[in-house]
């Protein structure tokens, strides 16, 4: 009577162990489609790009074999490339704070469940779904010298509008304005989601504690969404380093290369001049810049965490 009942637990345990082993094997199969896409579309191109950056690979002149750091050395002497690095960094510096600041401001303004707020949330987020071609087309009509919307408005007050498309110092800020207008919706939504996580009772306690609106913002709201602020900053740094479409379509890198970003330089080196090795090396530099900036941001975010 007791023998079979004693044997059973042992068998069950063994079967469980087998099942665990089989389960892991099957699980690998389930993530295989993603792994395949990840490998083929991300890891392989990344490795290929790195390899390419050390080759003399000119589509017109043919493959010239490995050249070591020569592509990189040439880049550091290329005034147009160095200018594009400067432009891109400057663009990130002016656009990312605008995304964080304005995104947060809009989120704070629209964080209630009135119909007005939900209407404006849709409006601000809505422009994000437009394609870059449409956005730049619209803004070219705004910026157009003499006949643009901006000049028309300024003209009504007897003023002359600044010319964003043809003034060197204004080209990148002009593009930054377009970019913020275009995709401010995502940071705003991320901030809204974070704000909605803060319990209402905490604000009520603060009201009973005589906290001013400013005090509430600084002492309660901002600390509560600190992680999201870092997240938005990192996302925007990564996105804005890749500036291309707007610059290409609004100013085409001009005037006098004043708004030529790195990605545009890479595109032109690779697909206009067919210098694939050279373009690949520029890509690696962009990659390192983005990685460094994102890591710096996360490090700053962690520093405040301790306090």
């Amino acid at each position: 009577m007791s023998a079979p009942s004693q044997a059973r637990p042992v068998r069950v345990a063994r079967r469980d162990a087998d099942a665990v082993g089989r389960r892991t094997a099957w699980n690998a199969l389930f993530i295989a489609p993603y792994m395949l896409a990840f490998l083929v579309l991300l890891v392989v191109p990344l490795g290929l790009g790195m390899w390419l950056s050390f080759q003399d690979y000119d589509m017109l002149a043919g493959y010239g074999g490995p050249v070591g750091w020569e592509n990189y050395e040439r880049l550091l002497g290329d005034r147009i490339f160095l200018g594009s690095v400067r432009n891109t960094i400057w663009f990130v510096i002016i656009s990312v704070p605008a995304f964080v600041g304005l995104g947060l401001f809009l989120a704070l303004l629209l964080n209630d469940d009135s119909r007005k707020s939900s209407f404006f949330r849709s409006i601000f987020f809505g422009s994000s779904v437009l394609s870059v071609t449409i956005v730049t087309l619209v803004w070219r009509l705004v910026y157009m010298p003499d006949r643009g919307l901006l000049q028309n408005i300024a003209g009504m007050f007897g003023l002359t509008a600044p010319n964003f498309m043809t003034t060197e110092a204004l080209a990148l800020p002009g593009i930054a304005i377009v970019t913020v207008w275009w995709i401010i919706g995502l940071p705003m939504m991320l901030f809204l989601a974070a704000l909605q996580q803060i319990p209402k009772e905490v604000y009520e306690a603060a009201a009973l504690d005589n906290a001013s609106r400013w005090r509430v913002l600084v002492s309660i709201t901002l600390p509560a969404i600190r992680r999201t602020i870092v997240l938005v900053a990192v996302i925007e740094v990564i996105l804005q380093f890749q500036l291309f479409g707007q610059a290409n379509l609004i100013t085409n890198g001009g005037p006098n290369n004043a708004s030529r970003p790195i990605v545009m330089f890479i595109y032109e080196a690779g697909f206009r001049d067919w210098m694939l090795g050279y373009a690949a090396a520029a890509s690696q530099i962009l990659f390192v810049l983005m990685l460094g900036a994102a890591m710096l941001q996360m490090w700053i975010g962690r520093q405040k965490d301790g306090g």
């Binding site: 905490v202 603060a206 504690d209 005589n210 906290a211 002492s219």
Partner: protein, 358 residues
């Protein structure tokens, strides 16, 4: 210390009327408990006193000064929330200092007040911690400490014990009662738990659907429930309620009959009962005696050690619970004979109003 007056206070959310028209006086220094089932409007009322909710009607006075148009911080009240509502990114010390800094109190005075409160609540060792490093009971203490340092005219508590485990809840009950004696401030406490109300209150206001059913000391509401709702809400197990028929009067008390025809004598004056279309009899388990003329059969026996509750089914289908001794030998299925102590029987008329022995 401050008295609080509620004059014709009303609150509606759109077309939903949560509190129709409520008036009462809260006496300076008392521990008043608003007791009622969940959803009856207790929190809404408390939040209107705190200034977190606007009034649709009426006015609120604290110490004779009208406050219903003042922002929450200027009413001189402190609130302890159900989920504590501590500031998660501040230490316990900063949580308590926050409200004091906002009114420009000097650092030295803030430190002194925090030290006092920490001593009263025995939480000196917690001051440097963040709320996430505290247990539920400790957070509760901090929330109370944050209220104490403000030395408010009135403390407002919204079900502050409902997130604590049973042992901690009964300990905190005692501490709150002690705190009330120490600081002698007016305290308004909202709960759906009658044990909390009975143990801590100077007076209980029993609420039902936005209305106050009765205000009285714990013993008053227990012994002389003004309405059938109060009778059913206060006391564990709930008061037995049986439909009865008025037979007449004997020795100055009404005599009624149960549906099964059994005669029950009461000491309730008959005046005002005859006009009532229906009548209900209420009697608590401890006032049901054994050895009377009402036959039943034990259906459930609850042994609590010091006493036993027996639920007996009467022939007409009604269930009556009575209290028996701890060593009662009654078991399920036994026939029992019950009687009701005439002096402790209540009658409720068709309007739900209670009539008690004179």
């Amino acid at each position: 210390m401050a008295g609080i007056s509620l004059h014709n206070v009303g609150k509606s959310y759109g077309s939903v009327e949560v509190i129709p028209d409520l008036s009462m006086e809260i006496i300076s220094g008392e521990f008043l408990v608003f007791l009622g089932p969940s959803g009856c409007g207790k929190s809404t009322l408390l939040r209107m006193i705190a200034g977190l909710e606007e009034l649709s009607n009426g006015e609120i006075l604290i110490d004779g000064t009208r406050v219903d148009a003042l922002p929450p911080g200027q009413r001189g009240v402190a609130m302890v929330f159900q989920h504590y509502a501590l500031y998660p990114h501040m230490t316990v010390r900063d949580n308590m200092a926050f409200g004091l800094r906002n009114i420009g109190m000097s650092a030295g005075e803030i430190d002194r007040k925090i030290a006092d409160a920490a001593r009263i609540l025995e939480m000196d060792h917690l001051l440097a911690r963040k709320p996430s490093q505290l247990s539920g009971g400790q957070r509760q203490r901090v929330a109370i400490g944050r209220a104490i340092v403000k030395e408010p005219k009135a403390f407002l508590f919204d079900e502050p014990l409902s997130n604590l485990d049973a042992a901690l809840r009964s300990r905190t009950r005692i501490e709150l009662a002690r705190l009330h004696q120490q600081v002698k401030a007016t305290m308004i406490f909202v709960t759906h738990d009658q044990v909390e109300a009975m143990t801590m209150a100077s007076r209980i206001a029993i609420m039902n659907q936005g209305r106050i059913e009765q205000v009285g000391t714990p013993l008053e509401v227990y012994r002389r429930p003004r309405t059938r709702f109060v009778a059913g809400f206060i006391g564990t197990p709930a008061m037995n309620i049986l439909t009865v028929r008025l037979l007449g009067e004997d020795k100055g008390g009404a005599v009624v009959a149960l549906p099964g025809g059994q005669r029950v004598e009461t000491r309730v004056p008959i005046s005002g009962l005859a006009s009532s279309a229906t009548l209900e009899l209420g009697v608590r388990a401890e006032h049901v005696t054994t050895g009377g003329g009402i036959d039943g059969r034990a259906e459930v026996v609850e042994r609590l050690g010091d006493r036993t509750f027996v639920y007996a089914r009467l022939p007409d289908g009604a269930l009556v619970v009575y209290e028996d001794a701890g060593d009662s030998t009654v078991s399920v299925g036994d026939p029992v004979a019950l009687g009701f102590n005439p002096a402790q029987v209540h009658l409720f008329d068709s309007a739900g109003i209670g009539h008690h022995a004179a």
